[in-house]
């Protein structure tokens, strides 16, 4: 006999439901199934009205983040068996507005990404005919980790500051700023500092470190923030104490 597991999924269709509610579905357990496979099973065989985002099913497009038993995870890389015997609670990512069912509002996050100016800024840009900028493997490793972010937003759902202060620019955006700040091809750090040091910027972070805990790509936003604060403090003291120094 096939073993099954119960999924309790938060449902909400704004035209229809006054409030979100949990709906239960019983699905088969298969050892090779991730949570997303169970959702697709529901969609194809039980209830075609369930809405959620997904695409690559290999942990790199960043679409399928959800709260599973209160923890933000990528549903395409978390196995169902892990949750035996169930039930499993599945809800939209914390701290984002819900559009419908498991689909959250993403535009606010996208605006934060843009705000940190995540592109190479230089006084003078080389023409392609002048060849590549040199970057040694050591220089690459300075920022490589921060470039691995897939924008899945799990870190925002884990961050207690985002929960209290929705305007907080947040872990992924700060890590992204640092990704460019530590890139030897970039000269835009001062412009990004204006953003990071604003009221809703880096100093809102209370260094709880939950963001790094949940990051599926080991980007370590908490480390990026810590590194910035240490460096930022040093630079501030340098600018106060040594007005004629480097700057």
């Amino acid at each position: 006999m096939e073993t099954t597991i119960t999924l309790q999924i938060l449902r909400y269709i704004p035209e229809k439901d006054p409030d979100p509610f949990y709906q239960e579905y019983e699905v088969p357990i298969r050892e090779e199934w991730v949570i997303l496979d169970a959702l697709n099973y529901i969609k194809d065989h039980i209830d075609g009205t369930l809405s959620y985002r997904w695409s690559c099913r290999m942990g790199v497009c960043g679409s399928c983040g959800m709260m599973v038993n209160e923890k933000p995870i990528l549903t395409c890389e978390t196995f169902l068996e892990k949750y035996m015997p169930g039930p499993v609670r599945i809800a939209p990512l914390n701290y984002f507005g819900v559009i419908r069912d498991l689909v959250v509002e993403t535009d606010g996050f996208m605006e934060k990404v843009k705000r940190v100016k995540p592109w190479i800024i230089r006084d003078r840009e080389k023409a392609p005919s002048e060849g590549e900028y040199l970057q040694t493997p050591e220089q690459l490793s300075e920022y490589k980790q921060y470039s691995m972010c897939i924008n899945c937003m799990l870190c925002y759902s884990a961050c207690p500051v985002v929960g209290l202060e929705p305007e907080f620019i947040g872990p992924a955006a700060i890590a992204l700023a640092q990704r460019y700040n530590y890139d030897n091809r970039d000269e835009g750090e001062n412009q990004r500092n204006d953003v990071l040091l604003a009221d809703d910027g880096i100093y809102e972070c209370t260094l709880v470190g939950e963001c790094s805990e949940v990051c599926p790509k080991k980007v370590d936003p908490a480390g990026a923030i810590q590194r910035y604060k240490v460096q930022g403090a040093t630079e501030w003291w340098t600018s106060v104490l040594l007005p004629f120094g480097k700057k």
């Binding site: 969609k43 809405s51 790199v60 419908r100 996208m110 590549e132 970057q135």
Partner: protein
């Protein structure tokens, strides 16, 4: 995202993957005064470019040459590539790749800080640039982040395009449904570039993401634009058995070996060279993908593959590379194997089998991405220029996105600048389209009982059985008939979900209707090509036939159902058709 004001642009790009974003930047750089919009059914960084792993080819090292890159591409494509397009491609590739470097792409480097390159299948020299084994991911994110600095580039994120707006013989925009609200509206533009990617999802077992449903191909096809060389579907030889997740060719380029159930490097039996300890370019495991996938099928027939819960498989062995090389050069391979197969390739062999990966065919364009419909352009996997011929070489597709995305962007910008006004019927056309969509999917009535998931499953079975690695007239005809029946049944499609808010069942139904068009085009083109070339293998016509088929197929949509297929000659410049030689 919420929008205000009229939806009118100079250049509209459908699809926010590598080709679409490169095109958008090209338009902005060609003429900063033009208004540009990227409309996509997903946020751009979710596009499938993100999944590309191994690398992107461009000549950069002194021991390499443009002619070598061209020859590898043309012979790899079994002489079906247009050689003028290939020459332009290899020439512009290095500059495009450097541009991406300037935009911040974290390319892997040599000790001295210059670009590092790796070998790849079917390539005579090392010329594949890589960012470890997440090349597509880094290219896409670098480009997306770079587009954010261009104010003229506007976006319609999570808008699903249902049709092209064609008035007065020229394409002037699209009709799209905003997923968040269900609002259906026209987006007018003086030129439109389709960059919607491939259509791997017409098959059940594919590396392709869920979004790759041939949307752009289908909406162009419905507007009378022919699809070119659709019979050429690439199977990648190394996918994980249950998920179809890709294990990059870079694993073999670094020295990985393919072994049958006896631990034997079986490729030596298929005219691909003799096994050596170190990887040899254009030999054995570094042969082209079509030949490797075909060798697997032959091994299977001989009973020399292994049997698993998801069918037959062979082993990819990278253990001898050691942990250090694996972690530095192909860390994603290890991550994927650990996560999805629960094995560590440092100590265990990886089970793999061929998996649908890419379509060489697509919307028929010229060397500038222009289609036969005025105002409509296409680039990337959705287009067929053709530089890939009958079989694409690994690491050419990412570069193709850049070179031809940029070309299409520049030409579409010029075209838009030459247009002064919009046609008078656009609003009326959009209203008709809105009525059609609502009537079919949201307010449908009568005896309707067909479900999207059921029809999709039957289409998958038909395509796998009839149009896989080896095909025959019988298999193709049988699949064609099934497709015809499924199309009829689709007329009775019924959605349980009638909501206008993020209705993913509606999206799936539209995608399925697009896939029927694409599948029909694949089947009909494959049926009429009575020869074997590259990835198109007919067991009833096993030889290449240059006399009759050194030409591109162009399939047109007809009223009756099955496609009408015409042909156009292949452009040959300097490399007359010859034998494909690997390992000798």
């Amino acid at each position: 995202m919420a929008r205000y004001g009229p939806n009118e642009h100079d250049v509209l790009i459908v699809g926010g993957g590598g080709a679409g974003l490169r095109a958008a930047i090209a338009v902005a750089e060609t003429n900063p005064k033009l208004s540009i919009a990227v409309v996509s059914k997903v946020y751009p960084m979710r596009s499938h470019t993100v999944s590309a792993e191994g690398g992107a080819a461009a000549v950069i090292k002194p021991d390499d040459s443009l002619d070598d890159h061209a020859y590898d591409t043309i012979s790899g494509g079994d002489w079906l590539c247009d050689q003028d397009a290939v020459e332009a491609f290899v020439k512009e590739a290095p500059e495009e790749m450097i541009r991406l470097e300037h935009w911040g792409c974290p390319w892997s480097r040599e000790e001295n800080g210059s670009i590092a390159v790796r070998p790849f299948g079917g390539m005579k020299n090392k010329r594949t640039w890589f960012a470890a084994d997440k090349t597509g991911f880094h290219m896409l994110h670098s480009m997306f982040q770079t587009t954010l600095k261009y104010d003229p580039i506007d976006r319609y994120d999570e808008y699903f395009v249902t049709s092209l707006l064609v008035d007065d013989g020229r394409c002037q925009g699209v009709v799209a449904l905003e997923l968040a609200t269900g609002k259906i509206e026209p987006i007018a533009a003086k030129s439109v570039i389709l960059c919607t990617g491939g259509c791997g999802k017409v098959f059940p077992f594919t590396t392709n993401a869920n979004i790759k449903t041939g949307d752009g191909m289908a909406i162009a096809y419905r507007a009378g634009v022919p699809l070119k060389d659709m019979e050429f579907v690439q199977y990648h030889p190394t996918g994980l058995p249950f998920t179809g997740i890709l294990i990059t060719e870079a694993a073999r380029a670094e020295g990985g070996r393919l072994l049958n159930k006896d631990g034997y490097r079986y490729l030596q039996d298929y005219d691909l060279g003799i096994p050596e300890d170190k990887p040899v370019l254009r030999s054995m495991e570094l042969g082209p993908r079509d030949r490797l996938s075909q060798a697997f099928e032959k091994e299977k027939e001989k009973g020399r593959t292994l049997n698993g819960p998801y069918g037959e498989f062979v082993h990819l062995d990278i253990r001898h590379l050691g942990k250090e090389v694996i972690d530095e050069k192909i860390p994603f391979v290890r991550e994927l194997c650990r996560k999805y197969e629960n094995i560590d390739p440092v100590h265990e062999m990886i089970p793999v089998r061929p998996v649908v990966h890419y379509i060489m065919g697509g919307i028929h364009t010229d060397i500038n991405g222009e289609t036969l419909l005025d105002g409509l352009f296409a680039a990337g996997e959705t287009a067929c220029v053709s530089i890939n011929g009958a079989n694409r070489l690994g690491s050419n597709s990412l570069t193709e996105l850049l070179v031809f995305g940029a070309r299409a962007g520049r030409v579409a910008a010029e075209y838009a600048s030459s247009q002064t006004s919009f046609g008078s019927r656009l609003e009326a056309l959009a209203t008709d389209e809105k009525k059609r969509i609502e009537k079919t999917f949201f307010n449908s009535s009568g005896n309707r009982s067909e479900r999207v998931a059921d029809l999709r499953k039957e289409m998958h079975n038909a395509m796998e059985q009839g149009a896989g690695i080896y095909r025959t007239e019988t298999s193709l005809k049988s699949s064609g008939e099934i497709l015809g029946e499924l199309r009829e049944r689709f007329k009775k499609i019924s959605l349980e979900d009638k909501s206008y808010t993020f209705n993913t069942q509606f999206v799936s139904a539209m995608e399925l209707s697009y896939m029927f068009d694409v599948a029909e085009s694949i089947i009909e083109s494959a049926l009429q090509r009575t020869e074997s070339r590259g990835s198109h293998q007919r067991t009833d016509f096993p030889e290449r036939d240059d006399q009759n088929f050194l030409k591109h197929s162009l399939s047109y949509k007809t009223e009756q159902g099955s496609a009408r297929v015409e042909y156009q000659p292949v452009t040959i410049t300097r490399w007359p058709p010859g034998e494909r030689k690997y390992g000798r």
